[in-house]
């Protein structure tokens, strides 16, 4: 669920834009480095971005009857690292605003921060940490996707509570957490399971690629 166009006051739009800008700029720098080393990775990045967009436009069946969509954050972060994923997420969010009326231009900064920075970063840390601890990558990717998805919504709650601190910041935060984060738990589990299914197939068919990207657990490589 993206924060929609015009939902945030101007000050907060600008603040989130500035924060996100720094991270995305670093991501672009990294992409430039990758592309200079291996020029053929540009197409891979573009196609992965398209995959993220497509994944987010697929409907995930959810228990509560509402429909949500997977973000593909966890997978992207595990494959490419958080900074590169932030750049891809920026383009994906721009496309979502312009092609699906999902999210918006003024809230782009805030959405990049929650979906493109917090989510992938958490997923990446979880994934790297678990694989370092010799846990199978299939289990690690589940927790990466699950926590990445969940923390995205926790970040969104924080952003909304900052913008609407009524009556106090902490009270507003608790309320937003209840609506956004708690209802998101089953969906996050769904995304985790889906990512595991994708990951299994990837491992079965393209083990060399995963190895080249450095995405496999040390004992599986």
């Amino acid at each position: 669920m993206h924060i929609m166009e015009g939902y945030l006051p101007l000050t907060w739009c600008i603040i989130w834009f500035i924060i996100s800008f720094a991270v995305v700029a670093f991501g672009i720098y990294q992409i430039k480095k990758i592309v200079d080393e291996t020029p053929e990775s540009k197409a891979l990045l573009a196609v992965s971005g398209a995959f993220m967009f497509i994944l987010s436009s697929l409907k995930l069946p959810s228990v509560t009857g509402s429909c949500s969509h997977p973000c593909g954050n966890g997978l992207g972060a595990a494959l490419f690292g958080p900074a590169v994923t932030a750049v891809l997420a920026t383009i994906v969010l721009l496309f979502q605003a312009l092609l699906l009326a999902h999210g918006g231009l003024t809230t782009l900064g805030a959405n990049i921060f929650s979906m493109g920075i917090v989510g992938p970063f958490v997923a990446w840390i979880v994934y790297k940490g678990l694989t370092k601890a010799n846990i199978a990558s299939t289990i690690a990717i589940f927790f990466a996707a699950f926590l990445g998805d969940l923390l995205t919504y926790v970040a969104t709650s924080f952003q909304l509570a900052f913008a609407f601190p009524a009556p106090t910041f902490s009270e507003a935060l608790v309320k937003f957490l209840v609506i956004f984060a708690v209802t998101q738990v089953p969906l996050a589990i769904g995304e985790g399971i889906l990512t595991v299914i994708i990951w299994d197939r990837l491992k079965a068919y393209k083990p060399k690629l995963l190895d080249k990207l450095g995405a496999l657990a040390p004992n599986e490589a």
Binding site: L58, L99, L105, R201
Partner: protein
């Protein structure tokens, strides 16, 4: 299928208008609407931009309503929530259920947020419904957004539509074999679908790169910009 907005953006009376003008107009209007945060101005912008979209760009009113309805449902829910559960100050209205009250503060939050979104949505619609994505990306490229980002964006945009066809075929195939029959099977089908697309996309990216390289790709996709015929 889902991307009627893209089709509309390519087929309306304002498609050929200068994209820089549209981009700047949208940006300025959005900033002004947010900065003023004035109820009357929100209504004014909503009416003016709707007229521009419907009468000047000649976008089908059904498509425009569909564009508005998607965020609208969510907006109404969140604003009702803001009105009833937030804020402090004088109580204006008591519902009598669980001590839920509407206060001056929460009323202010709810109404202003609602109207702000109402003012901003048509501005976004103006850009999204009249300007094809490729043109927006070219504009952004001229405005010093890093070239690599624009390139990836353009390649992504092209790839999305290739994927859409494949997904359509695959989903129909799965559906006709009862792939989305129950909750469990739909998960399995969706997983198979996404991983297959990812594997295919890897092959696609290789082919794409090879075809680009063999045509002398040096990091730029020159696009023919037709001169306006009056």
């Amino acid at each position: 299928m889902k991307f009627d907005m893209d089709y509309i953006a390519h087929n309306n009376e304002l498609t050929e208008t200068n994209p820089y003008f549209k981009l700047f107009l949208t940006a300025i209007l959005l900033i002004v609407t947010l900065a003023l945060d004035n109820l009357y101005f929100d209504v004014f912008i909503f009416v003016v931009m709707s007229i521009v979209i419907l009468a000047i760009a000649k976008v089908n009113y059904k498509s425009y309503l569909k564009f508005l309805s998607l965020p609208m449902a969510f907006l109404v829910i969140t604003c009702i929530f803001l009105i009833f559960f937030f804020g402090k100050g004088d109580v204006i209205y008591e519902t009598g259920i669980f001590g839920i009250v509407v206060t001056t503060d929460s009323w202010h939050y709810g109404v202003y947020t609602f109207m702000r979104v109402m003012g901003c949505l048509p501005c976004l619609g103006f850009l999204a419904l009249t300007t094809p994505i490729a043109k927006i990306l070219h504009c952004l490229g001229r405005l010093k957004v890093p070239k690599i980002m624009i390139e990836i964006g353009l390649l992504m945009y092209n790839t999305i539509f290739i994927f859409l066809n494949e997904i359509d075929t695959m989903q129909k195939a799965q559906d006709s074999r009862l792939g989305y029959h129950s909750y469990f099977t739909s998960f399995k089908s969706l997983g198979a679908l996404s991983s297959t697309i990812f594997l295919r996309s890897l092959d696609k990216s290789e082919t794409l790169q090879n075809s680009l390289d063999s045509r002398g790709y040096s990091g730029e996709l020159p696009v023919y910009e037709p001169r306006k015929v009056r």
